[in-house]
Amino acid sequence: MNGLWDRQRRGFSRSGHRRDALWLAALLHRLSGLALAAFLPLHFLALALALKGEIALDGFLRWTANPLVKVAEMGLVFFLSVHVLGGIRILLVENLAWFQGQKQLATGALIGALLLALMFLVRAA
């Protein structure tokens, strides 16, 4: 307790770590994972429309041509990309000897995911 009080007295913030790039990367990994976990059941249910035949699935595919749906799909591509690229960094840091540049790698994963999401929107539009 004294140590914590001392840090506060000296002006250290208890939430300062929340501005750290790797803390933000961990938060983004959890949030993107949750978004993907929430989306997956809906994705599977949409594909299961194929059981009702081509017409049912075509009706759904026409709905996905809506520009708002395309923007939502861009968000999903971003979540999937940032989760897999950030996940690769986690697997590397946990299974290889420690190496420098973790913040740069995490930032690169974010930029790469943003570029992939934008590329998706440009190609799909």
């Binding site: 959890r30 994972g33 949750l34 993907l36 976990a37 997956l40 059941p41 994705h43 599977f44 249910l45 594909l47 299961a48 429309l49 194929a50 059981l51 081509e54 017409i55 699935l57 075509d58 595919l61 041509a65 799909e73 591509v77 999937l80 990309s81 897999v84 996940g87 690769i88 986690i90 697997l91 946990e94 992939l116 590329m119 998706f120 190609r123 799909a124």
Partner: protein
């Protein structure tokens, strides 16, 4: 998270890296071409490759997501003990069931 769940979580993650990268390629290919249901079925129906690919994907994703949701619930909510196990198993089994129905619909039906 215990050691067994940790190994399953990271193992499913490692398995999914190539699967997700190929799936992203499929997403880009399909969205740029605007495939119809008939176009999709022509590529997937009776395909051992796509059937095996997406069946493996469903198993890995259901495992990875269920353990991930359990970890986040343990960190961010007051759920503990058996409640976490119920959450993990029910979500994982739901994903696996819906996923296999989806794969069957696209590959077998």
């Amino acid at each position: 998270m215990n050691v067994r769940l940790y190994i399953l979580q990271r193992g499913s993650a490692a398995l999914m890296v190539p699967l997700v990268l190929l799936h992203l390629g499929v997403i880009f290919y399909a969205s740029a071409r605007g495939l119809s249901a008939a176009d999709i079925f022509a590529r997937t129906r009776g395909s051992l490759f796509w059937g095996s690919f997406y069946a493996a994907f469903v198993v890995a994703a259901a495992t990875h997501a269920a353990i991930g949701v359990r970890s986040i619930a343990a960190e961010w909510t007051s759920l503990r003990g058996a409640a976490l196990e119920v959450l993990m198993w029910s979500f994982g089994l739901l994903l696996a069931a819906l996923g296999f129905i989806a794969v069957a619909a696209v590959v077998l039906a």
